[in-house]
Structures are given as structure tokens and as C-alpha cells.
């Protein structure tokens, strides 16, 4: 793996996404629809911070599940998997797709944050910004680290759309619980130190998932 080819592959994916908007448009619409549904359900209720933190990551999870698998499924569907196999090593492909998925998830969390702050202007108030930022960054990395290899697996199967959330959810449970707990702390205004334990778990999770995926990716990518 070399940094320059990884970077070139990331650029190709970003470029291609901006041109085709395969994932992007679906993601944006999904976020809007999901948040609207939540608004219909809550009406004028004032949800507690833990409910809001939960709903925040529910939207992120299901939106990510509708979009992140595209990174591999689109290569598979267009028949460009073999082209990539010829020009790049498996680890280059893995890290490039990991970076792309992290960026996608991170922009997703930003979009959901802005939307929540507008529609729940009274109850979704981030009191400890540092905790929230670290949670969102580590959360995006964690999401991407687990769902990238699952996306590569799903791309080889024949019931892709339904299989992706089914395979990802059990792997992501630990992450979801931890980021929900940290987000609640950020909304409640607990000091940054209060969420350190959560961040340690997130860091451990990211390291374990990225390391494991890196070692196993070859078996998924190569036929």
C-alpha cells in the first residue's frame, strides 16, 4: 500500500460521487424523511436528552446503512472490481474506502446535527461542545471501520440491500450504545472528563475493527 495510490483512489471515489450522486442524494433524502417522521411522532412533546441522543444516532445508523454499502456495491455492479484489483493492492483499496466512508458518515452527522438544532431548537442544545465533537468524530470513524468490511462482504452477496443492516447492526451495537451515552452527556452539559471512559471504548473499538478488517480484507476482496 502506498499513500499516493490510496489518496488517488479516494479522489477518484469523491470525484465519481460528486458526478453521479449515487449515495449522496439518497442520503440527503433519507435524513430529511427520517427527521420528518420523528417530528410527526413527537409533535409538541419535549423529548429528554437521552431520547434525543438515541434518535440522533438512529437516524445516522439507518441513513448510513442506506448509503455506505455503495462504495463496494457500485464497483461490483459496474464490473470495475477487477480493474481495481489490477491497479491497487487490497490494503490500498481498504484504506481508501475506509477514508471515503468516514468522510461520508462525518458529513452525515454534521447534516443531522444542523437539522436537529433547527427543528429541536429548545431541547437539542449541545452544552459540552468538546464532548460532542469528539463523539461525532470518533463515532464516524467507528461506523466506517465496522461497516466498510461488511459493505465489501455484502457486495459479493445477492440480497445486498436487506443484508447490509442485518449484518452491520450486531457489530455496531457496542458503538451505538457508547456514542448514545456520550451524546447524552454532551447534551446534559456534563464536563468533558465525564465522557473519557466512553472515548476509551470508542478508540479501542476503532483500533480493533480497523486492524481486524485490514487483516481480513484480502479474503473478501480477492475471489
Amino acid at each position: 500500500m502506498s499513500a499516493s495510490s490510496t489518496f488517488a483512489l479516494v479522489r477518484k471515489d469523491v470525484h465519481s460521487e460528486l458526478r453521479t450522486r449515487y449515495a449522496l442524494n439518497a442520503l440527503i433524502m433519507f435524513v430529511v424523511v427520517a427527521v420528518a417522521t420523528i417530528l410527526f411522532a413527537l409533535r409538541s412533546d419535549q423529548p429528554t436528552s437521552s431520547v434525543l441522543a438515541g434518535l440522533y444516532w438512529v437516524v445516522v445508523f439507518f441513513t448510513a446503512m442506506s448509503g455506505l454499502s455503495r462504495t463496494f456495491v457500485s464497483e461490483e455492479e459496474r464490473g470495475t472490481t477487477m480493474t481495481l484489483q489490477l491497479v491497487a493492492t487490497p490494503s490500498t483499496v481498504y484504506f481508501a474506502k475506509l477514508i471515503v466512508n468516514t468522510a461520508l458518515t462525518f458529513s452525515l452527522t454534521i447534516a443531522v446535527t444542523v437539522l436537529y438544532m433547527t427543528v429541536f431548537s429548545d431541547s437539542f442544545v449541545i452544552q459540552t461542545m468538546s464532548t460532542f465533537l469528539v463523539t461525532v468524530i470518533l463515532g464516524s470513524l467507528g461506523f466506517a471501520s465496522a461497516s466498510t468490511i461488511i459493505a465489501a462482504i455484502v457486495a459479493k452477496a445477492n440480497t445486498r440491500a436487506t443484508l447490509y443492516p442485518v449484518l452491520s447492526f450486531p457489530i455496531l451495537v457496542v458503538l451505538l450504545m457508547t456514542v448514545m451515552s456520550a451524546t447524552t452527556k454532551a447534551l446534559d452539559g456534563e464536563p468533558f472528563e465525564g465522557a473519557l471512559g466512553d472515548f476509551q471504548i470508542l478508540a479501542g473499538y476503532i483500533l480493533a475493527m480497523t486492524g481486524g478488517s485490514y487483516l481480513l480484507f484480502e479474503y473478501v476482496w480477492k475471489e
Binding site: 483512489l9 477518484k12 464490473g79 489490477l86 491497479v87 480477492k222
Partner: protein
């Protein structure tokens, strides 16, 4: 120019316990040429994938050497040019962009704007270089695959169904590529067409034995 040699020893491939082919042994040196023939479904494309290191054989071994030194099968990819119906270019990029992007990912410093321009001219796509590949006809896509395959002057050129979708002019282009490749490296052609098989001096016939 590095010289590539390859040795296939008793290679068999099975999918879902169905034997595709059995006990294929090949040994090729620098400028050798090999035609792989056999009826439909005899595993020509599968053998091509194995030769390119994209698929591992069920049994048997594949060894590549560069200038006499054995190398990992994964490392051979930089020295292979492949044209195959299973290998596609990116629809949302132009012909020129495809070659640029793929060379950048390959991190090949020898590829410059001129090499790419020359490759596009050779396959007759220079005038359409700034059009998206999705607007190309299937013959033009096939030409673009040739430009991509020979761009880095590979030690081994592997052609799977070399002239599919091509017109007479395209076939002449392929023949130029083949001549050029024979002058400096190894050529492997998987085909059912006798006119294409005669480009090569050696031959492997798949699917002859009763399975």
C-alpha cells in the same frame, strides 16, 4: 525492459465442487506467445483470472519470476496488461480521465500525459477523449480497454476475447498491439477464433478430457 517468466504446475479449478479444468501445466519465458482455446464454459476466462493473480487455483501452483527472480503473485499485477469482458472502465469518467485516474492509483511514475495521449491515439479514441465513457459504443469501450492494458508497457499482455465488439479497423488495431507486444514481451490470448489463435506459437486446449 524486464523479462517475465511464468510457470503453472498442475493447476485445477473447481466452483461449487464442479470441476472447471484439471491439471493445466504451462511454462512460458520472455517473448513466448500462448493461445488458450476451448469450447464455451471450458474455463478460459477462469484460467485468465488465475494467470493474472486475481483468482487462486483450487489445486496446483502458479509462479512468476521477474528477470529470473521469483516474485509474489500479487506483485505481478504491475507487469500485466489485461483486456477482458469482465473488466470495465468507469462510466462517469471520460476516456482520458479513466487512464489518468487508473495510472495515479497504480502510482506509476513512468506514465505521463504524453504516454496517455499516445495510447489514446493508437486505439483511435483521441478525438473522443473528453467524452464520458457511458456515451461510448461497446467497440469504443473495447478500444479504451486496450489503451489501458498497454499503457504501462506490460511484460505480459493477456487478451480475453480480444476482438469482441470490434470492427475491421479495430481488429487491425488489435493486430498492431499484438505485434508490438510480441516484440518486447509475453502474449497470452484466450479465444475461440482460429484467426486469433494463430498469433501465438503455443497452445493450450481446455475441456478436452471427459469430465
Amino acid at each position: 525492459m524486464t523479462s517475465v517468466s511464468l510457470k503453472l504446475d498442475g493447476v485445477s479449478k473447481e466452483f461449487n465442487r464442479r470441476l472447471i479444468f484439471r491439471d493445466v501445466s504451462i511454462s512460458l519465458q520472455g517473448g513466448d506467445t500462448l493461445a488458450i482455446t476451448g469450447r464455451n464454459g471450458s474455463g478460459k476466462s477462469t484460467l485468465v483470472k488465475i494467470l493474472c493473480g486475481l483468482l487462486s487455483p483450487t489445486r496446483g501452483t502458479l509462479m512468476y519470476a521477474l528477470d529470473g527472480k521469483d516474485i509474489e503473485v500479487d506483485a505481478i499485477k504491475d507487469h500485466i496488461g489485461l483486456v477482458s469482458p469482465y473488466l470495465q472502465m468507469y462510466d462517469e469518467f471520460t476516456g482520458l480521465e479513466n487512464l489518468e485516474v487508473l495510472s495515479r492509483i497504480r502510482a506509476d511514475r513512468n506514465i505521463t500525459g504524453e504516454t496517455i495521449a499516445e495510447a489514446l491515439k493508437n486505439v483511435g479514441l483521441w478525438d473522443r477523449r473528453n467524452d464520458f465513457v457511458r456515451t461510448y459504443s461497446s467497440g469504443m469501450k473495447q478500444r479504451l480497454k486496450y489503451a489501458f492494458a498497454v499503457l504501462h508497457r506490460p511484460g505480459v499482455l493477456v487478451l480475453d476475447e480480444p476482438t469482441s465488439n470490434l470492427d475491421a479497423d479495430g481488429i487491425a488495431m488489435v493486430e498492431r498491439c499484438v505485434r508490438e507486444q510480441r516484440s518486447h514481451g509475453m502474449l497470452i490470448v484466450a479465444t475461440n477464433d482460429a484467426d486469433e489463435a494463430i498469433w501465438c506459437s503455443q497452445r493450450v486446449v481446455l475441456g478436452d478430457e471427459k469430465v
